[in-house]
Symmetry: C2
DNA sequence: CCCGGTCCATGGAACGGTCCAACGAGCGCG
DNA sequence: CGCGCTCGTTGGACCGTTCCATGGACCGGG
């Protein structure tokens, strides 16, 4: 088929409005019902008419109107994904996992940025509710929990990569942060470290990772030498916490290893170490969390806990599919086992044999 | 209002389906037309009835159905944003800029990941067309250009942060990559560097940045000492290109400065320098592009070209608004002036006075 | 030849909103 | 007192689909 840029003879431009199913029907010389059948791929249509309809669709450049369709079908085949904090790209693998499963079930994903909620006063969850998406996936931490609670009453909802809020019929899928933190800490202990510090993060995830750290040091009788500094999960926060921890004034008590809340604050700690003249991993070992591409950068090459995002995404998708199928199960809480990814930022402590 | 978890007495759960405008009307003892008027904030409604309707809406938890609404109004007040490569978060500021302007005009943004096009065979642009979004913004490079051409014939479309494809009625807004590359290169030249290399990237953006580099070195008569290595815009690619450039075998000819296609490949070059025993910026100066948060990490602290993403986003939004207003102007091509952000990865060359 | 069944095809009633024409009440004015 | 105007409110048409009930053509069997 030739395509022309001149508006005149292009049948697609004939009407000011986009072509409808009636236009297609008229052009193909059939009823709109038949066109509808062709669109659904019904087998009870003769080949001749099917072809005629298909040709008309192509010639007009017809696209079904999702609004009209979902109005009567009462399904949109669309899942809303609420993202937050696009700057911290730990969720990218999670989205891949989500999409692979959802797409296999004929669902498409639309994303919205939850950060904008606060910034501009729009309620993104509400937008998805008005669009009548078939389901909702909340990725990570959400600023506004009240709005979500209301929406989740009506819409199959799953929270992925975070452990809160706990809501009546909302499943939670995340990596086992406490276990991941234990893995990281035990790795340091097994290398021979005795004075280990933790740079903590905020929220439930922060609490869990801190708890895992504390459990591990306690289990090995190292809790008296363990320190925890609070931070906010940013590079700046990690830097400042590390400066406090590595303060040269109390040199003898300085930790030989630091487990940070996430990769980005771990990088902050790395900078602090460098400024204080400490070489990583010779003088100081560092472990991050999330195994983002930051950790994989050669120049940083951080040992980090892989939070199994892809798997979390896939499982979240399956939970959502179950909910959408109408199984009114009580809210579940799935934990996926994280794994430690050992790279160049950890080694035995300075005085080790 | 008390909220209960028991389904029995919650009026919201009365019907299996979500409440409609008729349900609200019935409960408020008015006609559905009046409810509609209240929803639009019409002034020709008595206060008493307005309150009654508002109460009914709250009690039922009513949310207007966007599908029904857009069907008759023939507007969705929604703009589709096609993202690509979520792993490279240079576009985050761009989205902020976009959103600020679009939201001020009563439009909401929905995002979709274009990478999925190829991976799973879904056509995301088509999805937006079926949803009848009012406009489309393409952010960055798109895998499938044919599909876009077709959609752009029907939908007001703007490309942001990339210079292609060139389509009949599609505006392009991006930073002036050629100029940014000149800025970066001239900064190195003014520091005293004479042997300067460029790690090139792919696509039109890659070509433009390379062209800017070449123009600058030529203008200063340094083109005979200039080298260009091809790469793919990844850390790995930057690393490999840098290894080739800094090869110790031809030590005397080694460049004293490298301008990389983007921050991430610049980080790759940084790693290569480190491995070869070169100290940045003492032995080697590095400049990146995009001024992502990578460049701002203390431990990296790269001099980088700020691509003015926020501004690009705002301008793209304005272009789209103009197109949506029906001004059938020919495709425009706006360039926003980038600025150099000088940090710690650049200094005078080793032998400088 | 008529009847029942199969196979394609069709008209029309939803779906949940918006918007327009129309309508009654109340009021001021001639 | 009646006319016209404004104000607040309402019924109904319509948007573009899906789906259901129905219709006609054709065929084989009684």
């Amino acid at each position: 088929m030739e395509r022309s840029n001149e508006r005149g003879d292009d049948p697609r431009a004939a009407a000011g409005r986009p072509p409808t199913i009636r236009g297609v029907a008229e052009r193909a010389g059939v009823s709109k019902s038949l066109v509808s059948l062709v669109l659904q791929g019904s087998p009870r249509v003769s080949d001749a008419k099917r072809r005629a309809v298909q040709d008309a669709i192509d010639e007009l450049g017809y696209r079904p109107n999702a609004a009209a369709r979902s109005l009567v079908a009462r399904r949109t085949h669309t899942v809303g994904v609420l993202l937050n904090d696009l700057r911290n790209p730990w969720f990218v693998d999670l989205l891949d996992g989500l999409n692979s499963v959802l797409h296999a079930h004929g669902l498409r994903m639309l994303m919205a940025d939850g950060r904008l909620d606060r910034r501009t006063g729009q309620d993104v969850a509400r937008t998805f509710q008005e669009l009548r998406v078939d389901g909702l996936v909340v990725v990570g931490t959400l600023p506004d929990t009240d709005g979500l609670a209301e929406v989740a009453e009506r819409l199959p909802t799953v929270i992925a990569g975070n452990h809160e809020p706990l809501l009546p019929h909302v499943d939670i899928v995340a990596n086992d942060d406490e276990r991941g933190a234990r893995l990281a800490t035990e790795h340091l202990i097994s290398l021979g470290h005795r004075r280990i510090a933790h740079i903590a993060g905020r929220g439930v995830v922060g609490t869990l990772r801190r708890r895992g750290f504390e459990a591990a040091v306690r289990a090995h009788g190292l809790h008296t030498a363990a320190v925890v500094e609070s931070a906010d999960g940013t590079e700046e926060g990690g830097y400042r916490a590390a400066v406090r921890l590595l303060n040269p004034a109390r040199r003898t008590e300085r930790p030989t290893a630091v487990f940070a809340f996430n990769d980005i604050s771990c990088v902050g700690a790395l900078s602090a170490a460098q400024e204080l003249g400490l070489t990583v991993p010779v003088d100081l070992s560092l472990v991050g969390y999330d195994n983002t591409y930051l950790a994989r950068i050669r120049h940083l090459w951080l040992t980090s806990v892989n939070n199994a995002s892809h798997d979390v995404g896939r499982r979240a998708a399956r939970c959502l599919l179950d909910r959408m199928a109408g199984k009114g199960a009580p809210a579940g809480h799935q934990l996926v086992a994280p794994e430690l990814e050992i790279r160049g930022s950890t080694a035995p402590p300075p005085g080790a044999a």
